[in-house]
Symmetry: C2
Subunit: 337 residues, 2 copies
């Protein structure tokens, strides 16, 4: 077995470290802390004595002490509905990459899409004295609690009243979807939406574009789940009216739409063209590969982290928001360009 630093010996009781060092060196805890953080402020003899006692005790200075003196934890709190949702995973990567470059870390908590659990998560993160915080898809009606020195950044479309936001122009996404379906010659369109403002905004953009083309459309509702997409598509197909294109408010729901179309033996895109939303990693893996409206989750996460760093550094005390424009990613479900 190679040399490893693992050492399954009983650890020193960690809390006692700094106290013991201070007692043995005959100085205050604050002095010990200063030796390890702002050494130049300490008398050289005292410094030497503290370092010797620390070495004797095997005391390792912790970032807790350093951070106490600096008044910064170098932690950014992050609340996401659900870590395992791929889009949030990309967003977290963006946040983490920006923070990592500044020596900061992400402190993570899940809201499980529930207001009460989101509030608990926020309180939990604040107990760790995060320097700043980002909340994705907030379900909590009011602003989350925060000390005077901190503002939460909201990455969600519902909180237009809050000063610091990163958001997607969902209306522009709806327009892109409509244009793509019109481009491939479709005239009998439908929208499958879901509750909430995001879907409303996507539909509004879609409608605007169709209106200009003098076209009406049909609609059905789901809840972003795959199964709800299948049901909504079946509802549209059972109706019997002509249908040659469906815009779906989310990729997962679009997976359900594709399944309904497969079951009826309909060809995509020849019989029915489909456009999803989000361009999650799933979109390119579906059969046929799904054309989708790309939500730049990584870039949005990075922007939220940058905005948060600006607030922490005091560079921006004013309200500041960043709006991202979505892009069309064309794949097999609307056919070759």
């Amino acid at each position: 077995m190679p040399e490893v630093t693992h050492n399954p010996v009983t650890p020193l009781p960690r809390g006692s470290g700094i106290r013991e060092v201070a007692r043995l060196a005959g100085v205050s805890i604050a002095t010990v802390s200063r030796v390890f953080n702002d050494a130049e402020l300490v008398n050289p003899e005292t410094r030497q004595r503290v370092l010797e006692r620390a070495a004797t005790l095997g005391y390792e200075p912790s970032s807790l002490g350093r951070n106490l003196v600096r008044g910064r934890s170098d932690l950014l709190g992050l609340i996401v509905p659900n870590v395992s949702f791929p889009l949030y995973g990309e967003m977290i990567s963006g946040i983490e990459d920006v923070l990592g470059q500044r020596g900061m870390s992400v402190l993570l908590a899940s809201s499980h899409d529930e207001a009460a659990s989101e509030l608990l998560a926020a309180q939990h993160l604040l107990r760790h004295t995060v320097d700043g915080g980002i909340v994705v898809n907030s379900q909590f009606d009011a602003a989350l609690p925060a000390p005077r020195s901190m503002n939460w950044i909201y990455v969600s479309p519902e909180h237009v009243k809050f000063p610091n936001r990163v958001e997607l122009d969902n209306g522009a996404g709806g327009r892109l979807a409509a244009r793509e379906l019109l481009r491939v010659g479709r005239r009998h369109l439908a929208y499958i939406g879901a509750p909430g403002r995001e879907s409303q905004d996507r539909e509004r953009g879609f409608t605007d574009e169709l209106c200009q083309a003098g076209l009406s459309y049909r609609r059905a509702g789901g809840d972003y789940s795959e199964l709800s997409g299948t049901w909504a598509a079946e509802e549209l197909l059972d109706n019997g009216a002509a249908l040659d294109a469906i815009f779906v408010a989310g990729d997962l729901m679009a997976a359900g739409v594709l399944r309904a179309l497969h079951r009826r033996g309909l060809r995509m895109p020849e019989d029915v063209a489909v456009v999803g939303f989000d361009d999650s990693p799933l979109a390119a893996l579906l059969y046929p590969r799904l054309t989708s409206i790309r939500q730049p989750a990584y870039a949005m996460g990075a922007a939220a982290a940058e905005l948060s760093l600006r607030l922490i550094a005091g560079l921006s005390a004013e309200a500041e928001s960043v709006v991202f424009l979505p892009e069309l990613v064309r794949r097999e479900s609307t056919g070759p360009p």
Copy 2:
């Protein structure tokens, strides 16, 4: 606009808080800290004076101070290759749920599947004085650095030499896949693997079972990507030998296999049955829905967190590992039971 606690005023310089309070109250920083943490240790008059000065300055006691005294940060460091990979997302959820119940938080860092970046991530987390740490799919050959009081938990199959591990019995997964394909009457089997010990172990279990049935099999190699799955399947199909079943070492690669079979107009499972591995959320969304060997990522994450908490609490100083058994999740790609 409703009442919100957001307050875009210029924040106090945060570091100065505790120092200012100490100066104004004429006491040491340590005394201020004690007032907010172990108030009973402080003379009542001093306590009153500190609290008044703190109120005047708007000083809010931080968990940094409390944690310095306790010697615990209540943070658990977590290193994953890539947050946006769905399986790791589920694992993080499991870790976070266990920690949340104990008032602890996850401090996150990505290794990007690179040893150097993993080492940096570990150093970064240690600077924040995490109480414990979990590293998923470690790429670093040696043990990660750690203070004497801490052991990393490894969630990966490559580090059998390290004392604290959570792992999946990959060989058992390979046996389950072989049994399922034999159950549906297949005799011309193939395995599509990838580099690394996980795939080796899966193949070994698969071989063992086929050997007992007196069957040989063919093999092709990929790299867990979708495209590599398509190429590997095409290689097997081009060979011209009979083929009625493929076991694929990962779901994403299996998505590529399904695509190759669709392209050739082969029916699944009638012409070729397919079994994937991991049972990631993707598996149930593919067309046809993919039978897969379930890696219980959420439970594995929860177990790693529990193990880490036991080590932190000093309940287990010995080497301790948890081995999970995979399960077969039967879907359309091997047909109805």
